[in-house]
């Protein structure tokens, strides 16, 4: 009797709107992967060996996976989060030894015909442990020690992933900054961090001396308007000096630490170099495909750039170019709209949680998806360097689809249990 009740409550409490968005995105992914298969021969028969056939299997198994997570006890994730984190870190080490090298990255562990990508698992492993740490210790994130502990939780997987090296997956871990911010990390730390990123980019774009003069002029103006406030003047002085120092170090890092192909990528994206047939080829072709879709797109299976293989890696990282070409701006608007709806929904679901664990985890989920969407779409339209990360739920690939499914459904499970305490 009680069991019956709890089952009813379970289905009643799960946020079906999110699940519908999830299914919609998966379906959009399937349709566009189907369209992305280069037309080699006319074959009308549905083929499970092809990418779209496999993706259908991935989606089905993903749904099974997701619903089985809903059947688990919500406490499981909180309790086992350190172990899950630990296991994913070990897997990240294992992949460095037994991993298969694909495209210069040692990111996959082959298990039979299936390929496991530990960096995908590390995302929710880290999210879970971060949530557990904040919910258990209720740390004050405006003090040094908790920030360092949180930073360690995030930076360890980043370093391990960087050894593969997989810059794209590594960068996604920066998204954990936003849940921390929500939980009390001082805003100025974020501003300093992103300010440094901005300066790094400007440093390549403008002459160093122009930048230094700008900093000096801006700083001078601030000091002038805060004459009476000595403490602020000193602060501004310190910021100015460290900013200028940072400029020199950044230049040094860029020229001596980064690998040439990384440098080229960054330069290409900033428009410092033009090379439509070299490293910029993918982006250029992707932009052409998306741009040619115009307002309403060429129509399903009518995209010439897609059909005739002009965009490389089209069913995986560049799947958005298919959407852009065949469905046009309207299609892009719908997809981005769905993502926004999903993200805002998750944030609002997270805010209604009683447990801190669920809230922090929810923010982690939203921010990870946000980073993926932003970086991936930004890359296909040429406003972000080519960083190979998939578009959540849409890009071809079992590993990525399942890890996003698990990521999302753990949160849905936590949310369905929001009345209880974890």
């Amino acid at each position: 009797m009680i069991n019956q009740q709890s089952n009813n409550r379970f289905f009643f409490n799960v946020d079906w709107v999110t699940i519908l968005i999830y299914i919609a995105l998966c379906a959009i992914g399937f349709v566009n992967i189907y369209a992305s298969i280069p037309q080699v021969e006319e074959s009308t028969a549905f083929n499970f060996a092809s990418n779209y056939g496999k993706q259908l299997i991935f989606i089905m198994t993903g749904l099974v996976l997701g619903f089985s997570i809903l059947l688990l006890d919500a406490k499981f994730f909180s309790i086992f989060s350190p172990i899950i984190y630990g296991v994913t870190m070990i897997l990240l080490l294992v992949v460095l030894v037994v991993g298969r090298n694909v495209g210069g990255n040692q990111a996959w562990i082959p298990i039979g015909s299936f390929r496991l990508q530990p960096s995908e698992l590390a995302k929710f492993g880290t999210a879970l442990l971060l949530a557990r740490y904040i919910s258990s210790f209720n740390p004050k994130l405006n003090t040094l020690k908790p920030v360092l502990i949180a930073a360690v939780i995030i930076v360890v997987p980043m370093c391990l992933i960087m050894l593969q090296p997989d810059a794209g997956s590594m960068l996604v871990f920066l998204s954990f900054m936003f849940p921390l911010y929500r939980e009390g990390l001082p805003g100025y730390l974020l501003i300093i961090f992103w300010g440094m990123v901005l300066l790094f980019i400007l440093n390549l774009f403008l002459s160093q001396w122009v930048l230094i003069s700008i900093i000096l002029i801006l700083g001078g103006l601030f000091i002038y308007f805060n004459k009476k406030k000595h403490q602020r003047m000193i602060m501004i002085g310190i910021i100015m000096i460290s900013a200028i120092g940072y400029l020199f170090i950044a230049k040094l890092v860029f020229e001596n630490v980064l690998q040439p192909h990384q440098r080229t990528r960054i330069e290409l994206i900033l428009g410092l170099k033009t090379d439509p047939k070299g490293a910029g080829y993918n982006v250029n072709q992707s932009k052409i495909a998306i741009g040619s879709g115009q307002l309403t797109g060429r129509g399903f299976l009518q995209g010439t750039q897609t059909k005739y293989g002009y965009v490389p890696e089209q069913s995986t990282d560049f799947i958005f170019s298919t959407i852009g070409e065949e469905w046009g701006f309207a299609g892009c608007f719908v997809v981005i709209g769905l993502y926004m709806f999903l993200l805002l929904r998750i944030v609002n679901l997270a805010e209604r949680q009683r447990s801190t664990f669920s809230r922090v985890y929810g923010y982690c989920v939203a921010c990870i998806i946000f980073f993926h969407v932003f970086i991936n779409i930004g890359m296909t339209i040429g406003i972000i360097p080519v960083i190979g990360i998939p578009l959540p739920f849409i890009s071809y690939g079992g590993s990525s689809l399942w890890s996003f499914t698990v990521l999302l459904f753990i949160f849905l499970k936590l949310d369905s249990n929001r009345m209880g305490f974890i």
Binding site: F178, G187, I288, A289, G291, E325, F329, I377
Partner: protein, 646 residues
Amino acid sequence: MDNLFNRKYVIQVLFIVVALILLGTLFYIQVASEKYFIAAESNVLKKIYTFPARGVIYDRNEKPLAQNEAVYDLMVIPNQVKEFDTAALCRIIDIDMKRFARNFNKASAQSRYQPSIFERQLSVQVYATLSEQLSRFPGFFVQSRTIRHYPDSVAAHFLGYIKEVSPLDIQNSEGYYRSGDYIGKSGVEKSYETLLRGERGIVNMMYDVRNVPKGSYAEGRFDTAAVSGDRLISSLDLKLQKLGEDLMRNKVGSIVAIEPASGEILAFVSSPTYDPNLMVGRSQGNNYMELLKNPNRVFNIRPIQGYYSPGSSFKPLDALLGLQEGVIDPSMTFNCPGYFKVGGHTVKCEHVDGNIALRMGLARSCNTYACYVFQKLLTQRKYPNQRVAYDEWQKKVRKFGLGEKLGIDLPSERNGRLYDAAYYSGKYSKYWNYGTVISLAIGQGEMDATPLQMANIMAIIANRGYYIKPHLVKAIGKNRVIKKEYVKKNYVDVEARHFEPVIDGMQDAVNAPWGTAIQSRIDGIVMCGKTGTVQNPRGKNHSVFIGFAPRDNPKIAIAVIVENAGYGSTYAAPIASYIAEQYLKGEVSKYKLAQVAWMKSQVILPEPPKPKVKPKPKGTDSIEKVTTPVLPDQNHTKSKPIQITQ
């Protein structure tokens, strides 16, 4: 903690801002900018051209002079080539392994996925053998296209030739021509290129990223079919042209025959000539180099590029201008003691005829008579001085088509040479008069004319006062269009009545016992003409005849020049008479056939040029200066008299 709760808005605003950035960028590249759409089309679309048949060129009786013949190119798609018996293929198309490797590498370098020409222009026999065994050679196939064929091998200079376009041609055409296209390089093939080439067909094909064709674009809605080139009906008479070329065989010179009433050129012979079929096909390049070796410059188009002193053929103009100006009348006589003297210049005459009037003066080609008329023209009272008189005179001469291009529909026509008064004033300051330029009176000195210009003078006389620009194409396309400029009458401002006395003289030259070309009389046809012997400082004199026939309602005006052949009456005049007879009667009289055969068999070639002669620029456009004019040097008043023979 209120503070922290508000942070959820910060994060949501961040999401929305980023989404708007993405959408804004998307809006720009998808909706606001056409650039990417165009780039996508150019990625996928390629225009495949289909080639039209080149326009056929006919003679005036619509017998083909230039037509098209199918040839077969062996094509290869390198990535489709599998292991095969290379030796067998080489044997069939008759190439060695070295050439095979070279061809294959060249094709591979062009594209691995697209067809390139492997071996050009296989003969029909090779094609037949090859097509039976083609399945043994995967990746190879045969593509047919058409090349020029000249069934009678005549009129090479008139037809010109076509050749694959050079990079410069492509550049000059502003993208019309593409590598591998053919273009007319000389002759009618060049001057009527835009009509002959037709319109290429375009098939818009879609290609995938590896350049594999994927079918036509938009169901071929934007495709166009090839349109064959316009046919040209030339003014040439095939039989006449052939006879002319045969008569000029092993001689150097020109024959130009014009239908006076229409300006249509009936025969256009430049000798030495070549078989136009040599300039077609695989050995075009080799043949061209071989022909270039001929010391007599095969590619000179002598009728429009050869410079000759008009000599005696100029004398009718003296008389015509004299009559028109009223300085002479047909009965006025001048005394010919065998020479004409002015200042220190002496112009010799071959005879001593005493008092001589217009008719006899022309029939006997009297230099003295011509000089007197010239003197009278340049010493007219109405002009302030002789320099002005000269300038008026040369303007009138230009009306006869001398000194300027006539505007024939062939490229590379030359002006000829005739100077204005300013030239002589520049040379002699004020100190010159008719005596200084007296040799112009007899068509010598600083005056050159092309054979076409000489023939045109005859057309003017035949027409009694006008000419229509001589041209080689009388009708273009199905509608038989003719260019406007080739129907317009150009008047020379000499009244028709003045022509009759002049024509009398020219009639006597051929038909009277005292005429200079009496041997070339045609039975039943009154031909009017003049012989000339043009001095050639580099060898034997050139033999010249100009004339028209019949006297009334003339059908043919003609100029014949045989270089280094001596007297005009020996070679040029008989040749002209055979041509005129052939055209007017349809055949040459039976009793003259032996003469015709003898004429064809004559070999009159100049001595090989001395090695110290500086090399002339190569190419078909290079011009040979045939005759250097002899000008009396004003510093040597006792200079050697000009030798004019007739």
